[in-house]
Amino acid sequence: MTISVYVPAALSLLLAAISRIVVGRIAPTRAVVFVVAAMLCAAASTWGLVLLSATLLGDTSMVAEEASERGVQLQDPVPQLIGVTAVVLLVSGVFRVVRVLRARRATTQELRAVCSSCGTGELAVVALAAPHAFAVPGRPGRILVTQGLLSVLDGDERRVVLAHERAHLQSRHHWLRAATEVSAALNPVLIPVREAVAFLVERSADEHAAAVTGSRRLVAAAIAKVALAGGADGGVRAWSAALPFVGCGVSARVAALHADPPRPEPLVPSSVLALGVATAIAAVQATMAFYQLVYWLWPS
């Protein structure tokens, strides 16, 4: 097989590194670029694993010998160990995807159940002291908040929360997150991209809320208040501390809202997209090399 079968894995590493570096600086609306690149990388690397696994089906070294006897230089055949490793990675990836999709579906269903016990209308309020707010996708999407969150904020700040969650619903951010979650499940190298997208959609909703309310400082204050009010919630802290990103949390969002509004940079998105396309090309090349191998395996 050619080296191109391994290229998507290498490019995934590169994409992960880039997303770590630029996540704090890029305009939040560019999140979609990372989503597309992550999906291409995940698809290409998974396809590479499929190809490598498939080589186990036939004795490739014999084929290569036969081919070279006939004067055809087949690119280096795949050692069996790599084939087996590919199978293991592939199976564990599929397992993780199933787990992610199940968790997503179950969580959405539970959120909807909570909403439907809270009357009709856009806003669903639960009488809980812990401050939480969620956008619950659906037809129509709803905003689920706790009484605790509403009572720590004033009228303008409550408007921020509503605008932020509406932005998630209107821009269908749950699809962007789902796509990167599945990508990272298939290819764990892409986990930093998933975290970057999770951060960028929050930033994007923050900027939308700032545009709606007319004040970025107000949005920053609302986020800070809710975060501080939730400080006693030890369980949540344990999970968020486990995230690989340190600088991508609430304080980074607040800092970004205190800085100048983000300006779109044309260079980063196009280079990220180019990376995604490169992985796709590599996948096609690997497929062609594989086809050549198959052709020698089963000469009809």
């Binding site: 669903a124 009484q147 998630h168 939730g230 304080s251």
Partner: protein, 128 residues
């Protein structure tokens, strides 16, 4: 969509009726007790007309999302906590799920490290 595109980034946007309903409902939930229309208007904030708030309160009442008590000639409105316990239990269960499920939840704000909390507190104090 056209209205959003024409919004200036500085002036607050005019709010649609559905959005206002959510804001008024949120204000009633945040309040300690029943509110008159005038108090509800203050709690919502912004420059809403008294009549607008009054209309929304009546609409929310007709939908059964809020209740009201008569106080002399005026009405006082309050959030209806109908299925309070069921919803709270469901939510509590949701929040105490394992790590897979927590990762899916997209929170408005997660809680903080001690250092972050100090930074944010300082920021909020500066704002006052």
């Amino acid at each position: 969509m056209a209205t959003r595109a024409s919004r200036s980034s500085r002036t607050p946007a005019r709010r649609a009726a559905g959005e206002l309903e959510a804001e008024v409902l949120a204000a009633l939930w945040a309040a300690d007790g029943p509110l008159t229309a005038a108090r509800a208007r203050e709690a919502v904030g912004g420059e809403l007309a008294y009549n607008t708030v009054q209309t929304i309160l009546v609409r929310l009442y007709e939908k059964g999302l809020i209740g009201r008590v008569a106080d002399g000639r005026r009405h006082e409105y309050f959030a209806v906590k109908g299925a309070e316990e069921l919803a709270a239990e469901q939510m509590q269960a949701l929040l105490s799920r394992g790590r897979d499920r927590q990762a899916v939840l997209q929170r408005f704000a997660t809680s903080l490290s001690v250092e972050d909390a100090r930074l944010l507190q300082a920021m909020l104090r500066r704002r006052r």
